[in-house]
């Protein structure tokens, strides 16, 4: 292989199967033992507009999609000029246009080789205008030297009832490329370094983690980019008879139903994005005071308000940490990749059960809706922590008994002698309302003391790279992939270490010790104000030398990070 990572992009209007062709390409890659990382962009529309799906792949691990593309397919004409900036001199641009028909202004600006691909004519020969995406896939299969029969089998498995049609489309693209583009063929030799078994979107991985963690109540109101988890879990109810997935009337209903379900004994999560999460705030506060453990899967998108619904941002970190009125313990954790999305799916349920308080898993559109190849997540059987449950309470059972560490065993409704009042008012050890000053303070202290165990159990930070380097990059969440991919490609990679915070609240004091071991601190965040910086500043003396922010709705690409680190 001459080049380590290849990047392909499919572009076209919504409704033309851009996502499908991307997914198929990924499936074919997996069958050839490639590693991959993908990224899709789509407008908040059902038809029209400009959709893209790009996939970076390699025989080594690919942590994030690359910015510069090697091959672009414009599925219908004119869906490539949007990407002029992503072309290099070697980029191949396939489109169903003659070069003399193209707007000369674009053509002049463009780098790369423009190759005319008569998709419409080929599709008409096959007898369906719909298969232009599959024909492009046939061209790609030829260029990347994929096994033609394997490619057809995968495409057939995907399109089931339209197997024959799509198999012919693959053949047509393949043959056309063989005749016309043979000089661009990449004679890839397959020498896999790892065995990849599947690829997952973050939302899927989170949902699989939720199921592996014996999650049995998931409640949501559709909101991009969290909806993937609702769809995925709703479809699992047949296979998991105890699982209840509810699409409730609004997010206020979602959050309050979740409180009831968790109180009744279910391992419960809700899913939403920023706007819906705002509506859940009062119920989260209720969980805090009544000590009911609920998980909030918050998949961010750019705000304020409706914002840019189908794009990405890490702009809700402070919102998550400060959510819910009043003061109560809360745990905020952020997965950085697909495997961590899976892990936090069950870890969050364990934490909610054990600490009996709200747990927020904060992801974003980039992580939630992008895929990366990894191990078979369905095979993993995590440890389940149901928390402290009182099965045989005595006749004077106190649900909110003061205790060392603040955790009092709970009873589940149905348990004899376990009756108690869960209360949104401040309450005594039985749960009955109180306005007594001494009790109010004692109850606050009891709840707050749970932070100690939370700190012990919440996921620890990752430290990557050269631990004795001078420079430390600090980040959280979905920027992990682009940062690791940048460090893989940057020349002076041994100059850097990278600290990925997985628990954003409470902040572990050990973080300070790690940071103090480095001379130069560089923070990278996908938001406009440096929210992690504010949080760390609130905890200890923290003065990063550089803060790199991005807040245009797009994720960081590794190339951008390399450039920033080199500056």
């Amino acid at each position: 292989m001459s080049k380590k990572v290849f990047t392909i992009k499919f572009a076209g209007p919504a409704g033309m199967g851009i996502k499908s062709v991307g997914q198929l390409f990924s499936k074919i890659l997996i069958a050839h033992d490639f590693n991959l990382s993908d990224y899709s962009e789509y407008p908040s529309l059902v038809r029209g507009g400009h959709n893209t799906c790009q996939i970076s792949f390699s025989q080594d691990k690919v942590f994030a999609p690359h910015y510069f593309i090697d091959i672009l397919f414009s599925i219908v004409p004119n869906h490539w000029p949007q990407h002029l900036g992503e072309f290099t001199k070697d980029t191949l641009i396939f489109s169903d246009e003659q070069i003399d028909q193209i707007n000369p202004e674009f053509n002049q600006k463009r780098k790369g080789k423009f190759l005319s691909l008569p998709l419409k004519t080929l599709a008409n020969e096959i007898g369906s205008a719909q298969v232009v995406n599959t024909i492009s896939l046939g061209v790609a299969a030829y260029l990347f030297n994929f096994d033609l029969e394997l490619t057809k089998t995968i495409v057939c498995g995907f399109y089931k009832n339209f197997c024959d049609l799509n198999a012919r489309a693959i053949q047509s693209g393949y043959d056309y490329a063989k005749t016309n583009f043979s000089k661009y063929k990449l004679n890839l030799i397959y020498k896999p370094t790892t065995k990849t078994t599947d690829f997952y979107e973050g939302n899927e991985a989170y949902s699989l983690g939720f199921l592996a963690g014996k999650g049995d109540f998931y409640c949501a109101y559709p909101m991009t980019p969290a909806t993937g988890a609702l769809h995925f879990l709703a479809a699992k109810q047949e296979a998991y008879p105890n699982l209840k997935v509810i699409h409730a009337e609004d997010e206020v209903g979602v959050a309050n139903m979740a409180v009831g379900a968790a109180f009744a004994g279910a391992r419960t999560a809700v899913g939403t994005s920023g706007g819906g999460f705002a509506l859940m705030n009062e119920a989260m506060s209720l969980c805090g005071v009544s000590e009911v453990g609920v998980v909030y899967y918050l998949v961010s998108r750019p705000g304020p308000a409706t914002g840019i619904p189908t794009y990405t941002a890490q702009a809700d970190l402070l919102h998550a940490i400060n959510s819910g009125h009043g003061e109560f313990p809360k745990i905020v954790i952020a997965p950085g990749d697909i495997d961590e999305s899976f892990e936090m799916g069950y870890q969050s349920l364990n934490l909610a059960a054990k600490i009996q308080t709200p747990v927020i898993v904060i992801s974003d559109k980039f992580l939630g809706e992008s895929s990366t190849s990894t191990q078979d997540l369905t095979k993993i059987k995590p440890e389940i922590d149901l928390g402290d449950i009182e099965k045989n309470p005595n006749s004077d059972y106190k649900r909110y008994q003061y205790s060392q560490g603040g955790i009092s065993p709970r009873t589940i409704p149905g348990t004899q002698n376990g009756q108690f009042l869960a209360n949104s008012y401040e309450h005594d050890e039985y749960g009955f309302s109180t306005e007594d000053a001494t009790t109010a303070k004692k109850m606050f202290d009891k709840r707050n003391s749970k932070y100690k165990l939370a700190l012990k159990l919440a996921p620890k930070a990752n430290l990557f790279g050269n631990k004795s380097a001078k420079k430390l990059i600090i980040s959280w969440g979905s920027t992990k992939g682009p940062i690791l991919e940048a460090l893989k490609n940057i020349k002076n990679s041994s100059d850097f270490a990278f600290l990925q915070l997985k628990t954003l609240w409470p902040i572990n004091p050990d973080i300070k010790k790690i940071i103090d071991g480095f001379k130069e601190i560089i923070v990278i965040e996908n938001n406009g104000t440096g929210q992690l910086v504010s949080i760390l500043k609130s905890q200890f003396d923290f003065n990063p030398q550089k803060i790199h922010l991005k807040y245009d709705g797009r994720p960081f690409f590794p190339e951008e990070i390399v450039k920033k680190l080199n500056n």
Partner: protein
């Protein structure tokens, strides 16, 4: 022997408040039906009506204002074996939380909702509520309420005629008991709208 659902806390409503009647009637009928208090979950809204919470000793949830039905639905869906009830006021159930009521009625979920309908927000000292008659002067509508009131029975029946919904005047104790009994026995969603006068703030409604 009747089942005891009482906590040791003495109720705190105004002397003469109809909620004492409601409290007695609900306890009697739960006991007549032999509902096991360890399998019973009472959900309380916020308001004077929600203040039943401390006086019962069953599994209970004193929820948020308007959200008691949503919380109750979560419990019932998570564990259908539980006997799940809601007690709230006209403000919480027909106002703040109306969307949850609509949702529960549409699904005909087997929960029992008891509404102390006193035509006012009483705990907050007497403002207009969704059932306040048009023209009534309240603290928040000193020149008279301009809105027509919600008719809960008509509203609910128009959404789903298969659920149980009846209005009853609390002064008719026999009818109140009978209605609560039938609601508790109904194999689906049941709501009893219990018409009552708030002795502290109700006078202004007729002024």
């Amino acid at each position: 022997m009747p089942t005891n659902y009482r906590s040791s806390i003495t109720p705190t409503w105004c002397p003469g408040c109809h909620n004492y009647l409601v409290f007695a009637a609900i306890q009697k009928n739960l006991s007549d039906l032999n509902v096991d208090s360890s399998n019973l979950v009472m959900n309380y809204d916020i308001g004077c009506a929600g203040n039943f919470a401390d006086f019962f000793k069953t599994y209970g949830f004193h929820t948020l204002h308007g959200r008691s039905i949503a919380t109750a639905m979560g419990e019932k869906i998570a564990n259908p074996n539980l006997f799940v009830c809601v007690i709230g006021g006209d403000g919480g159930i027909y106002g703040e939380g109306l969307n949850h009521l609509v949702s529960a009625v549409r699904s005909n979920i087997n929960i029992k909702v008891f509404v102390s309908n006193n035509f006012l927000y009483s705990l907050t000292t007497g403002q207009t509520s969704p059932t306040t008659p048009k023209g009534s002067r309240t603290k928040s509508t000193p020149t008279g309420n301009i809105n027509v009131p919600v008719d809960p029975v008509k509203l609910i029946k128009s959404i789903n005629p298969d659920v149980f919904v009846e209005s009853v005047d609390n002064r008719d104790m026999v009818k109140l008991n009978d209605t609560i009994k039938r609601a508790l026995e109904f194999p689906g969603f049941a709501l009893v709208d219990m018409i009552q006068e708030c002795v502290a703030f109700g006078k202004q409604l007729n002024s």
